[in-house]
Amino acid sequence: MTHHNTKATEEQVQYAAILEKGMYSGLALMVITFALYVLGIMPSIVPLSEISIYWSMPVHDYLVAINTNFIHGEHLPTGWSWLKLIGYGDFLNFVPVTILSGVTIICYMVIIPGLFCRKDKAMAIMAIAEVLILTLAASGLLAVGGH
């Protein structure tokens, strides 16, 4: 009987397990939050019948328009400011999007201790660097001006 030594490494299996859980959680939540939004069970910032007015605008104009017409905030709803609007169906959908976008950061953080234990310093340092880069991207500090 042939022995196939093709097993994935420990960190790979660990990474896959977290990725799978995060993916299913995010997708399941997305279906629920979208249903709450599109069925009108939760109120939305931009009325459903008016969303088509805004989706053809450049993003900066869109943010100015919805802030002027509906939100009336001091600042445009960029970065993590959507958290303040989580009671509205359209912005509640940002929760599963955030989970799906953030699960990779969690995967990397989980495998770092094991990499150090196995004296795999180069990969551990790369994993730390990746966590820092993804966290920087997620932080909203890299906001740029729009057109």
Partner: protein, 328 residues
């Protein structure tokens, strides 16, 4: 006999879907919408575009699996060219579409040891950093410039798809120093030949440098970059084709995460666009995997190339018309 009927039905369905995708009616639709006055009051027919989007992305999901391309490379040029959504939102949605496809496939590919975490990590570090830069540059540039550049890139992808060869198990005489130091190597079992294949890579530094460009373009255009990852991993760095395809798919979950955050933080996510797109692509992929058994991959791949050629020309035309030049 039953197999022949199934094959014919499957091919007719896919041909019909491809014909619909190529229909000039889409071009007219986007022009009509652009010319319409923005309604002062709400639009009672607002739901039709998300429903059309769900249907179109479902077809895209099927064609992407059969044609061996990612969802992003079809999504951005087609939705950006033929739908009324602004390119900012299309790119944001495109990244999330590519990301979700990678998240769905990644765990299975990692567990099966077809995707290599050790190969992906150094590549992902470079590509994800550049994807952030690309996303920032893309969102800062005027839309018509991005549209033009997107059109040129899509036409370049068509050229790559027409000319790029594949190597099932490239000949790598010796692993180079960097890949040896990082222990980027592995073993996988090939069921068709019933053999274990030990693989190693070379040209690691040139490969990593190429990912600077790939990452930048992925972030700028929201395309996903699978179209570029596979040739670089397979032909330049020498990873076996299956390892390259699987690692590329997994890699998108890291590269696209970084760029997706930039678009998300900038507000380029409209749930009414993103969610139907994600559901459509994932359902379509599911069906595409089943149709794969009966479809002729070469025919589908040609249809994908023709669709991309049409979409690339449309993107160039849109960019030029904004600048006052009309191609057609």
């Amino acid at each position: 006999m039953q197999g022949n009927i199934k094959e014919k039905v499957g091919m007719m369905f896919v041909s019909l879907m491809c014909t619909i995708m190529l229909s000039p009616a889409w071009a007219l639709a986007s022009e009509v919408v652009a010319m319409d006055q923005i309604p002062a009051a709400g639009d009672p027919g607002w739901w039709k575009w998300p429903v059309i989007l769900l249907f179109v992305t479902f077809v895209m999901g099927i064609i992407a699996v059969l044609g061996g391309v990612g969802g992003g490379v079809l999504f951005v040029p087609i939705i950006g060219g033929f739908f009324p959504f602004h390119l900012d939102f299309v790119r944001g949605a495109g990244l999330l579409v590519a990301l979700c496809g990678a998240l769905a496939a990644g765990p299975g590919l990692l567990k099966a040891n077809l995707a290599s975490l050790r190969l992906a990590m150094p590549v992902a570090l470079i590509a994800s950093t550049m994807a952030i830069v690309g996303a920032m540059v893309g969102l800062a540039l005027p839309t018509h410039i991005v549209q033009l550049a997107l059109g040129g890139t899509i036409l370049g992808i068509v050229a790559i798809m027409l000319s790029a060869k594949k190597s099932t198990v490239p000949h790598v005489p010796q692993a180079d120093a960097l890949s040896t130091a990082l222990r980027i190597t592995g073993v996988f079992y090939e069921p068709t030949t019933k053999e274990e294949i030990n693989w190693k890579i070379h040209r690691t530094i040139p490969g990593l440098l190429t990912f600077i460009i790939i990452g930048f373009m992925a972030g700028m255009f929201g395309l996903g970059a699978g179209w570029a990852n596979v040739p670089v991993l397979n032909l330049m760095m020498g990873a076996p084709l299956k390892i390259s395809v699987a690692t590329s798919k997994f890699l998108l979950s890291i590269t696209d995460t970084s760029a997706a955050w930039i678009y998300l933080n900038k507000g380029c996510v409209i749930p009414m666009m993103v969610v139907p797109s994600l559901i459509g692509i994932m359902l379509g992929s599911f069906v595409g995997v089943r149709l794969l058994k009966v479809a002729k991959p070469t025919f589908i791949r040609w249809m994908v190339i023709i669709i991309l050629l049409f979409a690339g020309l449309k993107a160039v035309q849109k960019g030029l018309s904004t600048m006052g030049y009309n191609l057609f």
